[in-house]
Structures are given as C-alpha cells and as structure tokens.
Symmetry: C2
C-alpha cells in the first residue's frame, strides 16, 4: 500500500445514504494484507436485478468467467470481493476457488449459486485459498449494514495500490419517487479502456428490468471507465456491476422514456465521478488531465484519438514536467489510425489557442500564455482534428517517477 | 544531449569500409545545437537507385512528404539530414524550407530536384530556417569522403537524445563479386513500430533495380525497425532509405534469385543490427529485452502480441525492477486483440519454464530459477500462445526513472 495519499485526491469520502435492500460488511482474511480489511460482502433482497460489464481481455480471471455465466440469470443475492489476490491465470485451481466462494455464499443466504457474484483484485498467477474467505461469510452477513461507515469500509476493503477510497452518489426522480444510485470503485494502475484493474460496484433502490439495466450500464461504462487511462494496461479482472433492489417501489423501468433517461443520467454521473477518481489516484499521478477531442469522423474515432494521446508516454512525461509540448500531442494524434486533417488542426491548452491550420499560432508565446497554467494540477487540452462532428472526452494523468517507483517494486 | 552513454551500448563503433560512389560530409548549422555537427551531406554517383520506407502517421513532417514524392523517380544524387529541428507541423513554411534545401543541393550537383532527398529530426512545430543548411552544402560537397571517420561523423551528426552513434556493415557475394551494405541510424525515444523518431540510411555498391530495392527494403524494415519499441510513440519524421550506387559492377539484381536472396540477407542483417542498437540506446534503458512469440495464429499476430507485451508499462517497469512478474506478461498478452489459448500458454524466462497450461509451473521457484537472471542486462522472454504456427521476435528495453528524467525535461 502506498504511504502517501495522491495529491489529486478529493477532500473527503462523500456522504453516502443507505440503499434499501443492500447490506454491506467487510472482514480480514489475512490472505495477503495484514491488519486491514480485504474482504467485502454485500447482500441484497430477493429479486435484486444485476447487470455487469467485464474486461475484454483474452486472459480473463476465474471470477470474471463465473460472473459472465451467472449474469444470464439476471438476479443477485450476494457479492463477494477480495483484495490481494486476483485469482487470475490460476488454471483449474482458480475455478475451484471461485466455486468454493460461491458455495459458501449461497449457503449463507440459502440462494441459488447463480445469484452469487464474485470479484478479485491483486497479484496474478498465485493460487488463492478460498477457505479464509468462505469461513468469514456467515459472520459478515450477521453484522452487515448500510450506513456511511459501511460504505466507506466497503470502498476501503477492495483497495490495492489505491491511496484513497472512491465513492459517489446521485439521485433521480423516477415515477414521482426519488431513487438513489450509490457506488464505489478501486483502481490506480493497469488502468485502460475496456476496463482496467478496476472494480466498480453500483447499488440502487430503483426498480428496473434486467435488459434495460444492462443496456444503461454498458453505455455509462463506455462514457466513464472506458474513457479513462492511466497506463494503457487492461487487466484480467476488470468489472463494473450494478445491483438494483427495486425497494423504491417505482413502476419498473423498462424503456428509455423520461424516467429511464433520468435514471441513466444519475447512473452515468456516479460512474463518471468514480472513473475520474480512479485517474486522480493514478499511480504516481501529480496532474489530472482532461482531453477533449472534437471534429473527428465520429464519436468512436474521437475517443480512439483521445486515448492515443492520453496513452502517449511522451505526452504524459511532458505534462509531468509542466511542459506545454504540443508537438508531442501532434505526433500522438497522427498515429491513432483515425483521420486527422493536419492543415486544420486546432489545439487549445487551458483555453489558449496554441496551434491552428497545421502550425503554431503566430501570437502564441508559451512563457506568457501557458507556462504558469502547466504548473497547475488540473490540465485541460482541447484538440479539433478538422474532419467531422465526432466528439469525446477522455481523462488521464501524468507519467512520473512515482509510477516507476510503484511498479518497479510492487508485485501485483 | 545526454551526458552518459547507455549502459547497453556496444563497445565501439564498427569499422566501416568505403562504398564506391558514396561520399559523406558533416557540418555545423548552429540552428539548435552549439559546438557539434548537426548536418549530414551524402552525395552519390549518377544513376544511384533509391528506395525508402516512411512513417505511417497522419501528421507526417514536410521532409517526409517531399521524399515520398521524389521516390517515384527512383534515382538519387544527394541526401541532406539535419538534427535539432524536425520541420514537422510547420505548415506551408515547412514545405518552403524543404524546397530551399532541395534547390540548394540540386544546384551543388547540377541534378534534378527529384534526385535530392531530405530528412529532419528534432523539435516539432518550430519553423526551420533553411539558409544555414543551404549555405553549408557547397563546402560539404567539396570535402566529402567515405573513410571510417566520415562514417562515424555522419552517424554522430544526426543524433538527438542518442547517447552513442549507431553503425553496421555486412557483405554478400552477388554475381561472383563482393558487395557491401553499410548504414547508420539514429533513434532513442519516440520509438515504435511503423518506424519511430528514427532515421536510418543504408548505402550499397550493389547494382539493383528500383523495384526490387524497394521490395527488399520494405521487408527488411518490417523485420527490424518495425519489430522494435521503446515507448510505443511513432514519430512524424521516421524514415529508412537505401542508396545503391551500382559501382560493384554486378549484373543488376532484379529478382529474388540466389543473388537477390544473398543481398537481402546482408541488408536485413544491417537493418536488424541498427534497430537493436536503437533499442540499446532507448531513453533510460538499463536492460535489453528479446521477446519471442510462438504459437500465434500467424506471424503478423505474433508480432502484434509481442509488441503489446513490449509496450506494456507494467511489464517494462517490472523488468526495470528485476522482477520476473510474468502475471503482467499474461495480462498484456490478453489485451493484444489476437487469439490466445490461456490454458495452453507457456512462458519461459531466460530458458526457464515459468508457466504452462494456464498456471504457474509447479516446480518453478522464482528465487532459485530466475531472480539472478533478472538482474542481468540481457533478458530473454519466450511465450507460446498455443494457437498456431505464427512466430515473431520483438526487441524492447525497460522503463526506468531515466526515461522520465529525459522526457519530463527535454523539449524535442
């Protein structure tokens, strides 16, 4: 664990209200970490709807493979998450460990195995002993709750190299009632689109059908967790899951009408906030970078261009050095594989027009216009690539000595 | 310029023989660097055949655009290369600078403008004054030569963040005669497949047709410069050019018969050596990594898998830390987009079987088997992905504090 909290961390963990039908508890397995909770238990009222998005990597971890299968049922009663061992690249042993966790949780709640979801994060390739996890579940269920302390403990229990717990909450008015969406996430390195070593869990009291839940979650993930990058490294264990208890008693959301849109907006607000907190906790990060691409062939092209720039080690090190090195931005843009009109490129840094029409702006003076700005912690870069109407925003951080320190030593 | 030579540098610059029909000279423009040669002039006998491979980026520099056009003629009399200013993203000014260089060179040799090739490397986005370059050309032509000192001065004159000059030479027997292939290259950061901030120039006395020259050069580049990566950042200015004077007097090579194959082997040997020297000079590199992928769907898939692993910041930082963190290799493999059979994956590090069949090998003991090996400067990693017969070798280096130091400060 890092000793020092990221300089980009929010001032405090948010106030998180209870979600009716959700109970949380954390415990200490001792599997890897000592003296801290490393196990999360969440249980849900019967009938809770589940949706999930998972890493696209070909080397998916055993818990991910289980969840992808269980998701077909569309219902959840329990979630078990451990930190310290990813249970990835563990062969048949890994699947057996997952089965043991699932059996234990199903026994506690007397529910179907397919209603139990599991996630793991930590070191890859080390067989995971499921017994310390299974043994803890009955007592965790006995003392589970949903006050603010429970939320914060939950967010902390799943951390690995994270330096602060990440939570977010939003509400929406649906069918005349207020519904709440609350969630937490972990992630700090191996962060890239198509998830990351990134776990995110959101909980809502809204009543929503499984099909719509999946569609809205996938879209919100696309605009949040799939629009961030720390180091371009996708993980074996990424997942974002949503659990909807229906306890708010609204008419079940089943389509994208006004109520569906209101709920979707709250969901996206929570996921986007969590995703940006993950970037703020990027390993070694000292600057938070918002990169807006406009003028691309379409939105997907804009995002690919943005992520190419955001993943460029040369762009990221320039930002670390408070250097407004827009030449490196131009170089990165060019290799995205997407169409770019060099003679119509426009680049703004911190709102200052730096380059247009394929060359530096004649009035631009780096020392006068952006040198002080680049020393700040929040950097905004906007690029218009002069082709079409595609737009995307991606978020990233700088690449510093801190990243090297963390990753040349930390085994996980 | 870096003060310290890379620890991975070869012991010395090779002995390079003269190539009949080639004359080289270097000079000092003072455009950016002080107290060192930063301009290369090469002139060739009439009838010299030229071939070239250029960066695929959408933001290609002005000199690259010129060369792509001039290449259609297939003949070269002169090459002009400057270091310190890339003449990239310089708009119409950039094209005018190139035209002035070309005019000056054509006047010196009284040749066609299309027989003059130019290349630039250095800072992006700063307009380049061509006068100091043009003014030097007559005197450089007057004192050009091709002894070993001239080769070494040429290789030095094009360096930017390079810490050592890179040269290589090979011979082949063609039509009963010995022909020589000699070349030099620069490159250290912004190195990625599809070239890099990488300039490579090879010279031969072989007589070869323009069509075959282009085909053989493209193939050799594919197996050398397109199989290396330092940081995944492709540049605006990459190029590899070959100049064949025909002075050896062999029957003109026009097809891939035994003579053609002998020449191709020499060419590939030189380019492969130069490409690996570029990796050895990777910014901040302390370890040279050879990554061999077997069992992929095809050779192209194998190379994409290899480059995904080679570009992973987590793999590169683990190697920097002498950490045999094969879990990160598994994670990187999975996100290459190519087919991978996780349950048949085999990973060797330094010849030791670390993992197979989707899990760590039961007899593997990191401390006993690879801990000492990982502390060395030459790291070999072999991965079989269990799908087919595709094979590729890629070369990379580790990611260290040195890379951050160079790139968070150096503006270029």
């Amino acid at each position: 664990m890092s000793a020092k909290t990221s300089p980009l961390a929010p001032a405090s963990f948010p106030d998180m209200p209870p979600i009716a039908g959700v109970r949380l508890a954390t415990g200490m397995t001792g599997l890897r970490y000592k003296g801290r909770d490393d196990l999360l238990w969440a249980e849900f009222v019967p009938g809770t709807v589940v949706a999930g998005c998972f890493t696209t990597t070909a080397t998916r971890a055993a818990p991910v493979r289980w969840c992808e299968t269980a998701l077909a049922g569309g219902r959840a009663r329990a979630l078990v998450v451990n930190a310290g061992n990813a249970n990835a690249f563990t062969g048949p042993t890994g699947a057996r460990s997952v089965a043991a966790e699932v059996d234990a949780a199903a026994a506690v709640l007397d529910c179907a195995r397919e209603e139990v979801f599991v996630a793991s994060t930590g070191v890859i390739g080390v067989p995971m002993d499921p017994r310390p996890i299974a043994d803890l579940l009955p007592q965790l269920s006995g003392r589970a709750g949903c006050d603010n302390a429970a939320w914060q403990a939950a967010a902390r229990s799943i951390m690995t190299t994270d330096t602060f717990p990440k939570g977010s909450v939003a509400t929406a008015t649906v069918d005349g009632r207020t519904v709440t969406v609350a969630g937490f996430a972990k992630g700090s390195g191996m962060i890239a689109p198509n998830m990351a070593t990134m776990l995110g869990f959101v909980f809502t009291d809204a009543a929503i059908g499984a099909t719509l839940a999946q569609r809205l979650l996938a879209r919100a993930v696309d605009r949040s967790f799939n629009a961030i990058t720390v180091d371009g490294d996708t993980s074996t264990n990424d997942c974002v899951m949503m659990f909807a208890t229906g306890a708010a008693g609204n008419r079940v959301l089943a389509e994208e009408d006004a109520d569906g849109a209101a709920f979707a907006a709250a969901l996206e607000a929570v996921l986007s906030d969590l995703a940006r907190q993950v970037v703020r906790d990027g390993e070694g990060a000292t600057k938070f970078v918002t990169l807006t691409i406009t003028g691309a062939e379409n939105d997907a092209a804009a995002r690919r261009i943005g992520l190419t720039v955001a993943n460029s080690p040369l762009v990221k090190t320039a930002i670390a050095g408070s250097d407004a090195n827009w030449g490196r931005i131009v170089a990165a843009l060019g290799r995205s594989g997407e169409r770019v009109a060099e003679d119509r490129l426009r680049i703004h840094i911190g709102g200052v027009l730096v380059a247009e029409n394929g060359a530096v702006h004649p009035d631009y003076d780096e020392k006068v216009h952006v040198a002080d700005y680049m020393k700040g912690e929040e950097i905004e870069i906007a690029v218009d690539v002069g082709i079409g109407e595609g737009v995307a925003t991606v978020w990233t951080c700088d690449l510093t000595h801190g990243y090297i320190e963390i990753n040349a030593d930390y085994r996980s």
